[in-house]
Symmetry: C2
Subunit: 105 residues, 2 copies
Amino acid sequence: MSQFENVAVVKKANVYFEGKVTSRVVLFPDGTKKTLGIMLPGEYEFGTDCHEVMEIQGGDLLVLLPGEEEWLHIQGEGEFQVPANTRFKLQVKQVTDYCCSYMTE
Amino acid sequence: MSQFENVAVVKKANVYFEGKVTSRVVLFPDGTKKTLGIMLPGEYEFGTDCHEVMEIQGGDLLVLLPGEEEWLHIQGEGEFQVPANTRFKLQVKQVTDYCCSYMTE
């Protein structure tokens, strides 16, 4: 799917890490939410409130998921999931374009 | 208006200047188009295909509009317009969140 139809988009961006990570909130008719975001090269740590599905649309990054000791390497497209109420680390090597889905059960 | 309703959003980002300028395309039911974008500090030059209205939602930047000799300074919120088929320059001092409207006539 190359575009989301019949959605609402929050005008203002979410800005993290001095703008090296930014995203826009997309709201769906069924009440679910996704963010479309960009991460520039750097090292980041994030926490989750709910289960997140991270679709990498393009980029180059290493991901350390909670409880894991080995970094997952994603080049180009890929996906990883993060349980609710956990933390995960990222080493972004090249500009990364992502779509994050927030799962509500 | 804090969010756009009943729109389509292109999933993949537009990426310029190694990711220092990125945007997402928002398509409206009336056929018009806007982009929601982020610019990180740096110096940029852009060309326009159509008349553009740039709404700055937050940031700090200097703008040199076509035919002008003085830079316009926008801090916080602001707006400027650029005629079709011209070029303009930006000096972005702090992370800048913008909404660009592409005018069709």
